[in-house]
């Protein structure tokens, strides 16, 4: 019988190894798997490459891993916010590497990683600093850059409701990067608000099919007031 539920976040993240590539869902605090991040801070894996859109928007996001010296490289689109200080400090003394990708290119590279597409052309970032050094080609009269897929050893995602097969439904804009990151990691670990019986989720409404989820942890509801921590 399929049972993807783990007892707690500590067990769910126990085997994340030094040097792993980790995809972290969420957009600021929305849909952020902050309990899994907290467990990984506790677990202590080092030299991680972390792929996440926002770095520094919230204190319980990827900023926590950076401040705990667990990250050697960041790939993101928006490395700013009230909690980006530790990132800036580490960039200045070159103890961390930063790769900025346009948000759509970041999303598409991850989608490609999950979809078996190793590389694709996009018009985004042509003629800009972020397109420098990349192969280019003209299609439809416009310059395009060749971008490479991103895959992860692990992905942390946050969902609203799940079943033991690993199907996930999201709540509103909590969806953001979570469904696409779920597709692109060897092991996808989801924290969810609720785990329901198989068959209870609307089959038309499952944004992350069970095939993409390997571990589930049920969390307690988010504390009140979390909405305004973005500063």
């Amino acid at each position: 019988m399929i049972q993807k539920r783990f007892e707690n976040t500590a067990k769910a993240v126990a085997d994340i190894h030094d040097g792993a590539t980790l995809l972290v869902g969420g957009f600021g605090g929305s849909g952020l798997p902050s309990h899994l991040i907290a467990a990984l801070v506790e677990q202590g894996a080092k030299n991680l490459t972390v792929v996440s859109n926002n770095i520094g928007a919230v204190s319980d996001g990827v900023a926590a891993l950076i401040s705990n010296n667990q990250v050697k490289k960041i790939i993101c689109s928006f490395p700013v916010g009230p909690h980006a200080d530790d990132l800036i400090a580490r960039l200045q003394n070159s103890t961390i590497e930063l790769e900025i990708a346009p948000q759509g290119t970041l999303a598409e590279r991850i989608r490609a990683g999950g979809a078996g597409i190793p590389a694709f052309y996009t018009p985004t970032a042509a003629y800009t600093e972020l397109g420098e050094g990349k192969e280019t080609r003209v299609y439809n009269g416009r310059l395009h850059v060749l971008e490479q897929a991103i895959t992860g050893d692990f992905a942390f995602i946050k969902g609203h409701r799940a079943d033991r097969w690993g199907n996930i439904v999201y709540n509103k804009t909590q969806r953001n990067f979570n469904p696409v990151m779920a597709t692109a990691a060897k092991i996808t670990i989801a924290e969810v608000d609720e785990i329901v019986e198989v068959g209870e989720l609307d089959p038309e409404n499952i944004a992350t099919p069970s095939i993409y989820v390997h571990r589930l942890v049920k969390m307690e509801a988010a504390p009140e007031g979390r909405v305004l921590v973005n500063g």
């Binding site: 980006a84 960039l91 804009t173 969806r175």
Partner: protein, 230 residues
């Protein structure tokens, strides 16, 4: 360096209203962070404009009432918003497929600099060790029309320039510039002023602008002071 403009031109909300006036019924529009976000609050009655947010929604509605905020319903600036009836949710990759695929009728964006050729610099100032590109590059290559909505100058320095000195977001992408002082089109013949804000002379506008301007009509046309529409 030009004088800080004061007491002339449009307020931020009037500027947002001026932009909203040009958005057409049925358009799908993305609003950038900052002043562009205000456009959501001043769409004229009777127009259905469907607002898009990069983080995965169409049909963005106004800010929620205090106490009604939902951390799972936020805009691209991570601020709580609401969803209009007819709105829907999707993933970030689907959201950018929409953007990059050319499906948005317009994006209304902020800028650090814009050149007379429509080059846009909006993601990084040279002194910034980080940069904050977000969805700006995707929007500028993807949306059918790029409207800038910004203060005309920054700390007294012109933002409209002959050539951008800041890192580019995209070249040759801006269609129209809305500032607190004027509405200016980027054309093959250069920057053409379509409208001056109340109290703004063409001479003054040119002083605040580091690229040559032309007037669209032979006479200076002064805008009516725009009330805030709801």
């Amino acid at each position: 360096m030009v004088k800080e403009e004061q007491k002339v031109g449009w307020s931020k909300i009037e500027l947002a209203s001026r932009v909203a006036q040009d958005l057409e019924d049925g358009w799908f529009v993305n609003l950038g962070i900052g002043i562009p976000t205000l456009v959501a609050d001043v769409i004229p009655e009777g127009k259905e404009i469907i607002l898009h947010s990069e983080n995965g929604l169409l049909g963005l509605g106004p800010k929620p009432e205090p106490g009604q905020e939902d951390m799972d319903l936020v805009n691209a600036g991570k601020e709580p918003i609401t969803l209009k009836p007819g709105g829907c949710f999707f993933s970030q990759s689907d959201s950018f497929a929409m953007i990059r695929g050319g499906h948005l009728d317009a994006a209304v964006l902020g800028a650090f600099q814009v050149s007379e050729h429509g080059d846009l610099a909006s993601w990084k100032v040279p002194s910034d060790p980080l940069g904050r590109v977000g969805g700006a590059m995707d929007l500028t290559v993807g949306a059918k029309r790029i409207f800038l909505c910004m203060q005309h100058t920054s700390k007294g320095k012109p933002k409209i320039v002959e050539e951008c000195t800041y890192p580019l977001t995209a070249p040759r992408c801006v269609d129209r510039i809305y500032t607190n002082l004027a509405v200016i089109d980027v054309t093959d013949e250069g920057l053409v002023v379509q409208e001056l804000a109340p109290g703004v002379s063409f001479q003054y506008l040119q002083e605040c602008t580091a690229a040559p301007l032309k007037l669209h009509v032979s006479d200076e046309r002064q805008s009516d002071a725009l009330g805030v529409q709801q």
